[in-house]
């Protein structure tokens, strides 16, 4: 009927439409599979790293590795004493603890300044920008900086220089999370406290910080995890040591440096110890990261 009425109207070409639809659907499916492939590739890298660490690290991990200090290679002679990473674990704990203790208060104060005092001021913008640059800046340059500033005047590598370099890395991480968490606090809460007559500093320390506590703790944990595996700046500041030492004025061992040196030594027994160390560092760092995530999720 309609064909007789509109005989000169353009006819829909069903074959062409179907071909176009097929092409569009095929394209969509191709992209979807490519994206799934990309995600799988990303996960395979993670799985491969973890599997390698578990396979090679667990085989070498024992009590001696956790507690003993460095010993030279045994050349396959089992009567010689077996070495370990105890000195490096101690050194890493000392340096990261001092670095966190120095960096955290500064980071929290800067984050507070950005969120509570300088949200839109010029100085605030500058501080925020510089802190973001420091967050991604090459960490080896921070090592060079501390070398010039501390190691040269002191006349040698030292644990305190290593801790200072790590502290500079801690600051921007804590700044970022502190500022983000303080910005999430509703302004009505601040107004309510100030309306009761409290001075601003009490409002911040007693109410704002407390409301943002879990976020700030997350930032500290993430900063700790970040510096626990940091190698490059320590190479130029605390350098490494092969015996137990808690003297901050002398070169101090650390786990990443010990891994680096033993992995590159070329001796199979030392490389095994390096794998055990790598497993310890990675498991520690990932566990802290997961703990930080859980803490943050509880808040939301």
């Amino acid at each position: 009927m309609s064909a007789t009425t509109f005989s000169d109207a353009p006819q829909k070409n069903f074959a062409a439409s179907r071909a176009l639809g097929r092409r569009r659907r095929a394209m969509d499916a191709a992209v979807r599979w490519a994206c799934i492939g990309a995600t799988v590739i990303g996960l395979v890298f993670l799985a491969s790293i973890l599997a390698t660490l578990l396979w090679r690290g667990l085989a070498a991990l024992d009590w001696i590795v956790m507690t003993a200090e460095f010993q030279p290679t045994r050349y396959g002679d089992d009567t010689l004493p077996k070495g370990g990473l105890g000195h490096a674990i101690l050194g890493t704990l000392i340096q990261t603890a001092i670095a966190t203790a120095i960096g955290t208060p500064i980071g929290i104060l800067v984050g507070t300044y950005l969120a509570e005092y300088a949200r839109n001021s010029q100085l605030g913008q500058a501080v925020r920008f510089v802190s973001d640059v420091l967050l991604s800046a090459p960490s080896i340059l921070i090592g060079l900086f501390i070398y010039q500033l501390v190691v040269l005047p002191m006349g040698g590598f030292s644990g305190i220089a290593g801790a200072l370099a790590l502290a500079i890395i801690v600051i921007p991480v804590v700044v970022r999370t502190t500022e983000d968490m303080l910005q999430l606090i509703p302004n009505t809460l601040r107004e309510a406290v100030v309306a009761l007559g409290a001075p601003k500093w009490k409002m911040i320390t007693l109410v704002a910080w407390r409301a943002a506590l879990s976020g700030i703790v997350t930032g500290i944990l993430l900063a700790f995890a970040r510096i626990a595996g940091e190698t490059a700046p320590l190479l130029l500041t605390s350098f490494g040591n092969s015996v137990f030492s808690n003297d901050l004025g002398k070169a101090m061992a650390s786990l990443p440096i010990a891994i680096y040196q033993q992995a590159n030594s070329g001796f199979p027994d030392l490389i095994e110890i390096a794998w055990a160390g790598a497993l310890i560092v990675t498991v520690g760092v990932l566990l802290i990261n997961i703990a930080a995530r859980v803490l943050l999720r509880k808040r939301k």
Partner: protein
């Protein structure tokens, strides 16, 4: 009631300072001082690197920038930045080339394609990849990836593509250690994938749903929505995220040091060893003499690295600024 109100006399205006004003002043300056300290640290880093590198800049002049020499023999010392700068830039750009398609795929999958129950675990797993220390990537790269690259990529590519006329030399190499520019770029790519993917995912999530729903309502497929709506809406931030990854790759030290081969030669082929600024500093600085010309040259290299990565990171932040607000 009115009687009690009258008994409490208000303090005379201006006679007493507001309660807590001293504390306010102290606390505000404490916070501001910490902020100024951050500015000071960045300034001090630039200044010390520049001053430390000054003897080298004086000795070699502008030639330092394009000289390929690295001659530590006493009396004939001659240092140049060209090899390390080129290695840094090439390895980072190659890493971006490898990483961007994968990161885009992950971000697209996580925002549009993945079933909701899978989004969080997969997203967390990718983020954990970013938390692994760089020295672990280096070890894994050296002991696992490098042998694989050598037997499945370097040798076959060298045999098949190496015979091609002009680009053949890119794939031909006599390097038998396996540590190469290609291996370094691949490890760098794996390290920066999570950063780029996370940024892309965040910006894709910020596209107003109405825009996407309008396109779906017209019958567009998911890929067409991505290409026609999401990417045009977010492209500036996407480029910012890629620049952030580039900034990370430029300064990466330990992972690269393990797998790049640390040879002071310009790589003629993808599979030749070369070096980067960060790895030459890590390898040579601890054993150089205090105050020597070599140390000064390494500090000068550090200054160049700082300038390059500062520019890249500043551009990245500028491009991402709409997202940061």
């Amino acid at each position: 009631m009115s009687a009690t109100a009258q008994q409490v006399s208000a303090p005379p205006v201006g006679a007493r300072r507001r309660i807590g004003s001293t504390g306010d002043l102290v606390f505000e300056w404490l916070c501001r001082g910490a902020g100024l300290l951050v500015l000071l640290i960045l300034g001090a880093i630039i200044l010390t690197l520049f001053l430390g590198g000054l003897p080298a800049f004086r000795e070699f002049g502008a030639q330092f920038l394009w000289s390929t020499a690295w001659q530590p023999v006493e009396g004939r010392e001659n240092y140049g930045a060209a090899v390390a700068v080129l290695g840094t830039v090439l390895s980072s750009i190659l890493a971006i080339v490898f990483a961007v398609p994968i990161a885009f795929g992950i971000a697209f999958y996580l925002t549009e394609l993945a079933p909701p129950w899978l989004k969080r675990p997969v997203g967390t797993a990718i983020e954990l990849l970013a938390a692994i220390p760089s020295i672990i990537f280096g070890m894994w790269g050296l002991f696992v990836l490098v042998p694989l690259i050598q037997s499945y990529i370097q040798f076959p590519f060298g045999e098949t593509l190496g015979a091609l006329p002009v680009i053949g030399t890119l794939f031909q190499s006599t390097n038998f250690a396996g540590t190469s520019l290609f291996a370094a770029s691949l490890v760098l790519a794996i390290m920066i994938i999570p950063f780029i993917a996370a940024t892309m995912r965040d910006v894709f999530d910020q596209v107003p749903p109405v825009y996407k729903e309008s396109a779906y309502g017209l019958g567009a497929t998911r890929w067409e929505v991505m290409r026609g709506v999401v990417i045009p809406y977010t492209r500036i931030s996407v480029v910012g995220g890629i620049m952030l990854g580039l900034g990370r790759a430029l300064g990466e030290t330990m992972a690269v040091t393990f797998v790049i081969g640390n040879a002071n030669r310009i790589a003629n082929s993808l599979f030749d060893p070369t070096t980067t600024i960060a790895s030459v500093v890590a390898m040579e600085f601890p054993e150089s003499l205090m105050g020597s010309l070599k140390q000064s040259s390494l500090l000068a290299l550090g200054f160049l690295l700082f300038v390059i990565s500062f520019i890249v990171l500043a551009v990245s932040r500028w491009l991402l600024r709409p997202r940061l607000k």
